[in-house]
């Protein structure tokens, strides 16, 4: 008995000490009196960037003695889940790297702090030094929520030797030249060798083509799908025809064991991809292929490549008017995706000023150039392009040009979901033989369904606003609305600004 009593006493004290440490552990997230301690910034970065950026931290901490930065590195595959969980659980970091297609979602959650006032005061971050279309991905309802950290877009990768052999001396600049090049290559190579690789399970390819024609993608304040309108229909018909004419193989990216090997074999002479594949190609293509592949901006839509079912409106009507003359660089390329990652500050951060200081530090163009050297990620600032090794890089030139002609996909939280619908229906048209127009009608139907909630919220907000107008005279009601008025950027965040075209 004696022994067991002693055991119980030990157990009891163990329990109480554990309980007290539980309480301590619970409390420590709340932060306390931090006057004596340096400001601790938590920065979430994803994938390889998260590893590499740690090399840039010591210098910042040296120049900002009051601030310490902890970088939390999160795998890309877990990034979205971790971000949203932290937002919902109110456990956000101070700063994060954010793929710019995720910005609208976090803005809708009211998780991000608007940066406009700090931008206005900033001496290091000059809006003009950034690519317009990329910067725009961070602007919703007139407020800026992120600063582009690095950028990407998609361009045309091509085997210059194969094109030359087929009688195409330079990269195609228009869709008709493009299709002509594919036909020539196909005629020469035949068999299982194609003009271009367009993995049928990727949404980016048909969307890029749609952007090039000026397709709006969504309509009525991003409340409905708009894939059956003439611009997208023309782009989609062009896309599907490449498969129907056997210029591209109807395969998905999982069916290609080794894309680089296939590219080296000449199984396809062109593909559309981003900056990461420059490094991969340099690393993985056999040395013999050096100098026999190149990159070019996306070809531009031209009237000969396919008639539009309706009148051509929008930004392209004028852009195509003038005759193409002189050097290739003066032609306007097609529009491509505005990709990349931005740096954002969370609303829940206790130290927004310190967080901003860190963003300014990372955005400095010498740091941007250093970051490019470390990662191969393309800098978001033009000055960094001038100062770095990029200036003379032949593969980067196409990206530099293309970055002036990029457009954001619709800035709504539902876009991710819509991309899978696009994949499903475009795959059905390419593989299943669904006529393109019926595939697009079905796509519109599904997209409308996916946006149902969004429309409901918009309607409710509208009627709410009307009610508010009616009540405007009554001063008492205004008092109730006070919290809302204090943070105007909260209101209507779901209604993103209209997507802007290329600059």
């Amino acid at each position: 008995m004696c022994r067991s009593v002693r055991g119980l006493l030990v157990a009891g004290s163990l329990v109480s000490s554990l309980v007290s440490s539980l309480v301590a552990a619970t409390g420590c997230g709340r932060g306390g009196d931090q006057r004596h301690e340096p400001i601790a910034l938590r920065f979430w970065a994803f994938g390889r960037e998260g590893e590499v950026v740690q090399a840039l931290v010591p210098e910042f901490e040296r120049t900002h003695p009051g601030i310490r930065v902890t970088v939390q590195q999160i795998p890309f595959s877990a990034a979205h889940e971790k971000l949203l969980t932290s937002v919902v659980g109110r456990a956000t970091p101070d700063i994060a790297q954010l793929g710019n297609t995720w910005v609208p979602e976090l803005v809708a959650l009211r998780a991000l702090a608007p940066l406009d006032s700090m931008l206005a005061r900033s001496s290091t971050i000059a809006r003009d030094d950034y690519f317009n279309g990329i910067w725009d991905t961070n602007v919703l309802r007139g407020a800026t929520y992120g600063v582009p950290w690095y950028v990407d877009t998609r361009v045309l990768f091509y085997r210059s030797d194969l094109l030359a052999d087929a009688g195409v001396p330079t990269a195609p600049a228009t869709w008709s030249e493009w299709r002509d090049a594919m036909r020539r290559i196909r005629a020469r190579a035949g068999g299982h060798r194609y003009g271009i690789l367009l993995p049928v399970n990727e949404w980016a390819q048909p969307i890029i083509l749609g952007l090039a024609v000026g397709a709006p993608l969504l309509r009525d304040h991003d409340g409905y799908g708009d894939f059956s309108e003439p611009h997208f229909r023309a782009a989609f018909a062009f896309y599907v025809s490449l498969f129907r004419d056997s210029l591209a193989a109807p395969i998905s990216n999982t069916q290609i064991a080794n894309m680089y090997q296939s590219f080296a074999n000449g199984d396809f002479a062109m593909f559309i991809s981003g900056p990461w594949d420059v490094g991969e190609c340099l690393r993985r293509l056999p040395p013999a292929l050096r100098g026999r592949w190149a990159t070019a901006p996306m070809p531009a839509w031209d009237a000969e490549s396919g008639a539009l079912a309706g009148p051509l409106a929008g930004p392209l009507a004028g852009a195509r008017a003038g005759p193409r003359a002189g050097a290739r660089d003066t032609t306007t390329p097609g529009i491509s995706l505005a990709g990349g990652s931005s740096l954002v500050v969370f609303r829940g951060s206790a130290h927004p000023e310190a967080a901003w200081a860190f963003i300014e530090y990372l955005s400095d163009s010498t740091r941007q150039a250093r970051f490019y050297a470390l990662t191969g990620d393309l800098p978001s600032r033009r000055s960094a392009w001038r100062d770095s090794a990029l200036a003379g890089d032949p593969y980067a030139r196409a990206f530099r040009r293309q970055l002036q002609f990029v457009r954001a996909t619709p800035k709504i939280p539902e876009w991710d979901e819509i991309t899978t619908l696009i994949t499903d229906h475009s795959e059905a048209a390419v593989r299943g033989g669904t006529p393109p127009d019926s595939a697009l009608a079905a796509l519109d139907r599904d997209v409308d369904q996916a946006l149902e909630k969004r429309r409901w919220l918009q309607r409710r907000e509208q009627s709410h606003d009307q009610a508010q107008d009616r009540a405007q005279d009554q001063a008492q009601d205004r008092v109730h609305e006070q919290p809302r008025k204090q943070a105007p950027e909260h209101a209507n965040v779901r209604d993103s600004g209209a997507s802007t075209g290329a600059e």
Binding site: V88, E105, A108, L109, T254
Partner: protein
């Protein structure tokens, strides 16, 4: 029978006090959320509603209707049933086989073997999933090296849609067979030696004795093992999360992984809750079917 046969007020109060911490915790952290989950599955609670709960609407059964039309959900369901209906029986049979072997009176160092077989059970699933991911590596993995030594062609274990699920099953059997083995060994203790001797006198061979004496006696154990195994297998999550992320081509996407993606990745909470309830329904149906199939001769206890 009972110490407080009065069953009076004092006893009731004492009972309430003793039950309170445990039952309250279970209720608050498990039963109420489970019930709330059902209610949530009738709403379109989503990321908007997390920001402001007024943005959720009651949609009744629409989430379930959406699920019925979601190809990915059916893929997840099919994969999970594959895992349960193929992996579960394999796992149980391996456990039983090893238990019968270990139960043989010829075995020496029984305790040592038991410990070794049981070791994978206590290992951390995440850690062994990581280890197996490397064992399955098509180029440098031990498994393909073994196949090569046997003169067989290599297999792209986790990289091919055909082999990915069998690979996960193989790992799960490795990790889990020791657990049910212990239960079967305990069940085998209950087989009376007299029955064996009687069977032996009747001239029954080893196989006949197993079939006519061992198995019937094990029936209740079998029922318990198959129900718990099924419940566990229905909850497949960590293995595909670590090893394949549900790929390739969704070949290892499980119902729980689908729920995780719907719920915690896309924050379609109503939809995710509906998936969770389908999982609950599957569990109940599976358990009921097995109880119904229960052989007559099990004792009535418990």
């Amino acid at each position: 029978m009972t110490s407080l046969d009065g069953g009076g007020r004092a006893a009731r109060r004492a009972a309430a006090i003793f039950l309170a911490p445990g039952l309250l915790l279970i209720t608050i952290t498990f039963l109420l959320p489970a019930a709330a989950s059902f209610l949530l599955s009738l709403t379109d609670f989503d990321i908007y509603a997390v920001a402001s709960p007024a943005d959720a609407r009651v949609v009744w059964l629409r989430n379930y209707a959406t699920l019925a039309q979601a190809p990915l959900f059916w893929i997840a369901l099919r994969n999970t049933l594959y895992f349960v209906l193929v992996g579960g029986p394999i796992s149980v049979v391996v456990s039983l086989g090893v238990a019968v072997l270990l139960d043989s009176e010829l075995v020496r160092w029984r305790g040592l073997f038991r410990t070794i077989y049981f070791a994978p059970v206590v290992t951390t699933l995440v850690a062994v999933a990581v280890v197996w991911k490397y064992l399955y590596d098509p180029r440098f993995g031990l498994l393909n090296a073994g196949l090569h030594a046997l003169g067989l062609p290599p297999v792209d274990w986790l990289g091919s849609a055909v082999w990915a699920m069998p690979s996960i099953i193989l790992m799960t059997v490795w990790k889990g067979f020791g657990y049910n083995m212990i239960i079967f060994m305990a069940g085998l203790q209950a087989v009376s030696p007299d029955l064996y001797d009687a069977a032996r006198v009747d001239g029954a061979g080893a196989w006949q004795r197993f079939w006519h004496v061992t198995l019937p006696t094990l029936a209740p154990t079998f029922l318990f093992v198959s129900i718990t195994t099924m419940i566990g297998f229905l909850q497949l999550f960590s293995e595909p999360y670590i090893m394949t992320q549900g790929g390739p081509l969704h070949a290892t996407l499980s119902v729980v992984l689908y729920m995780f993606n719907q719920g915690f990745e896309s924050w379609h909470i109503g939809q995710g809750a509906a998936v969770a309830f389908v999982l609950f329904g599957l569990t109940l149906i599976g358990a009921l079917i097995q109880l119904r199939l229960r052989p007559e001769r099990t004792e009535g206890g418990a």
